[in-house]
Every structure is written in structure tokens, then in C-alpha cells.
Symmetry: C2
Subunit: 281 residues, 2 copies
Amino acid sequence: MQIHSAIPDLRAALNNRRGIVFVPTMGNLHAGHIALMAQARARGDTVVASIFVNRLQFGLGEDFDKYPRTFAEDCEKLSAAGVDLLFAPAENDLYPETQQYYVDPPEIQSQLEGAFRPGHFRGVATVVLKLFNIVRPEVALFGKKDYQQLMVLRNMTRQLALPIEIVGGETVRADDGLALSSRNGYLTPAERAEAPRLHRVLRGISDAVRNGRRDFAKLESEAVAELGRNGWKTDYVAVRQQVDLRVPQPGNTVLVVLAASRLGKPRLLDNIEIQAVQHER
Amino acid sequence: MQIHSAIPDLRAALNNRRGIVFVPTMGNLHAGHIALMAQARARGDTVVASIFVNRLQFGLGEDFDKYPRTFAEDCEKLSAAGVDLLFAPAENDLYPETQQYYVDPPEIQSQLEGAFRPGHFRGVATVVLKLFNIVRPEVALFGKKDYQQLMVLRNMTRQLALPIEIVGGETVRADDGLALSSRNGYLTPAERAEAPRLHRVLRGISDAVRNGRRDFAKLESEAVAELGRNGWKTDYVAVRQQVDLRVPQPGNTVLVVLAASRLGKPRLLDNIEIQAVQHER
């Protein structure tokens, strides 16, 4: 596996390569990332991964400085997964000057995650656009665990006429259902034992909606209450339309339930896609 | 010359082409545009022009609907100038849905032209980014007559890590000094006779600054007054730094004087780059 940190070096290495499949990451790789690499390996001739902890998408008081960085282990995992090239820029490679030109996502960026992380999706969209302009892939993969991010990037790519196919990768879970995440490492043993409740609660909503319930607000508030009784501080539990993450229109059955909640210090995310049944009225 | 309006057709035609040089326009081509095509012809193997009147960069009350459209004549001129491919999308090709993802230029977008045309540079930056993503040129040319636009696009390209060289083309003028512009066609004969004053006034400031004057505010207000005495309504006359169009720092000698002024209905733009002398203090 080649490793490049300078943009001109990566460009030279990719020159004349076809079928580039790209998986951007912030490192601290777990089995969810590696599943994306395997999916990428099956999709194209040249698999490029990137590791870059993007300061632009972290807000004030967020964990940019202590975000886990495990570069040597990450390289071993990527190499074993069949990645051809790793782009691992330093901050000065990607931001040699203060970033002043941003991609500004629409109003959805201020809902759900965006309501709790102002500017987050602007930072994500801008760095991914820059990475796309450097790597120029035909396909790019992002995990479904960050579901709103996947939606923002898919819409950005289409609306900016980038010739890139955006593919979502399924969330990888521990045996007890907890979605794998770099932030799980912050959990104490007691919190780790409690953590799978988030997925169980979402599964409960998913089952109810698939069985025909449409009283989403009630399902959401019951879930927030159950989490609260068990020590969680919940930012949101929300049933939304998959296509645009807006509140479901009557009759829309292609849904997703998303949640963000804090267990102690770590803030955990999860979601489940729901194909509800179309009921006669 | 091939002509394509659908994005997939253009992409297919450009597939495997190297050395693409791109000149985006809004049509109604004059000798200034044709000089850009000649410059493009000398720079690369494949010259691509585009014609698209971009609604996003026109404000309320601006002349989008009556902007002159002369497609047949434009095609003849482009073909004669050696253009290989013309991309002429319909509005629905470039904006098949409401545009929601924009490139947001920094604060300079609200100065000079931006102060009088809110959202203009956001619209310009967004459409040019889309055109770049479709055409994927190695070089793109823009006239210096829209000087602030050239600066915004150059900075956007660098900051978003696009592998594209941005080249400015010299302003082409009538014998009496009037900068060629699609909007000159709106001038009455009497206004057309008066119009070269804008260039003469800028030339006067340029000469004064090259000879060592640094009292820019006085030069600017004298110019506005002279234009006013002759029936012009001036939005701005401003001496700025070339690099970022900010007010010149002491000792900065790489300058440009820019103006926008209305003569009757048409709003005319012009500018002159100034290499001032470095004086001892």
C-alpha cells in the first residue's frame, strides 16, 4: 500500500488510474470501516482510502484535539484490507491557508445532527469536496451510521454535478447490537454494558412502524423517556423520510429512525432504515 | 464544432480527451470573447466553450429575461475561432431541481460588485463549479473585465483543490477605449458617445497612481464627481490590491482601479491594472 501526504504526490500516483473507489475516514479504524474497504475492493480497480481528522467539522468544545489517532494500526488494517493507496494529509496539506470558500448545504444541515453541531455539515461537505477534487474517484463509500452525512454528501454530489457515485455501507454492530464507532472507546465498562439500549430502542420503533403505527411523535417521546430512565441524555429520536430526512409525509413508507444520545460523556449515534407497509385507508 | 446540451452527451464526447481548455460564457459574443477563444486555442488540444445564461447570478430586477441571446451568431463565431466543442445546456440540464448546495465565497463577495448585486458571486461560483465538474478542464479562461469575478473564481479553484489553472484574458476595447460588453448594446447613440469617459477617468487615476499618488480616496471622489457632471450614476470607483481586492496596504504597489457606473439604464464596468512605482520614504 502506497502512502502519500502531499497532494501532488497523490495526484501523480493516481494519474492514468481508472476505476478509482474512494473511502474517506478520520482514522481510528474499526470493523465498520474495514467492511467499507472490502465493499470498495469489490467495486473498482484502485481502492483509495484517506485518513484526515477534519478540524472544520468539529465545533467549539467538541473533541477535535482528543479524537483518537491510531495511524500505525490503521495502516496495517488498510493494507490487510487490500487498499492500494492511502492519502493521509497533514492539516497544512489540505488547509495551507485559512479556508474561506465553503460548500453551504441547505436548511436540513441545521436539523437533527446539525441542530446540535452548528457548522458541522458545512465542514464535512467542504472537506469531502476537496478530497473528491484531489482523488477524483468514480465511486465513494460512506457508512450509513452517519446517515445524515451520507444524505448531505449524496445530495451535494448530485447538485454540484460531480461524476461520482455515492454508495452507503451498512452499519457494523457488536454482537449485542451496539453500532461500532470510534467514540465507543470513551465508554466506561458500565456505560458499555448499557450502550446497546440505544439500538434496542430504535429496533422497537422500527418494528412498531413496520407493523403500521404512524404516531411517530408518541414513539419518539416514549423512546426518549426510556433512555432517560436509564441515564441517557437524548438530543433526538426522530422518524424521518429516507430521501431528505424531513418529517414523513402521509403515505411515505420509506423511512429511517435516527437517534443521538449521550451516555456519560460520549455521544452515541444510531439509526435503522425502515420499509413500512403501505396500509389501505 | 460539436454542440451538446445534455451533460451525459458532453461527458461522452470529452471522455479520454486530454489538454482541455475551457471558456465559459453567457453568449452574445463579442471580440473580447473571441480573443479568449484564441488564447484558449493556443493553450491546449481541446477547446471547449459554454453558453449558459445563469439565472442564479442575476438578482431581482436585473436583466435575466432580456439578457441578449444570439445563439446562431455565437455558434458561427465560436466555430470560426477554432472551438472544438460547445456546451450549451438548457436551464433544466444544469438545474434539473432547485439548487440547494452553493459555493459560498467569503466576505469580499459583499464588496464592490457584491455590494450592489447580493448573491451574484455565490451564483457565479456555484455555476462555474458545476461547469468545471462537467467539463473537467486543465485550464479555464475568464476575461479581466469582470475582475472581481476572476479573483473569486481563482481563489475558489485554489481553495477547493481543483486541478485547474485559471487564466485571465485582457479586456478588449473599442478604438475609443470603451471596454467591449454585452451590455453596450443597450446604450443609445448619445450614451455610446459618452461611454468612453469611464475608461478615460480610470486611465487618469492609473496614471496618477503610477506617478506616485496614494491619496486614493481623493482620486476616487474626483472621478465620481466628473462622471456625475456628465450624467453618470456611479456605484463605485475604487483603487484596490490586485491580490484580494482589499483597500491597499501601505507600500503595496500591485493595484487595480475598478469602477461600475450607470449611463442611462445600462450599468457599465471597467478596470485597469496598475503597477505603481515603489517610492522611497
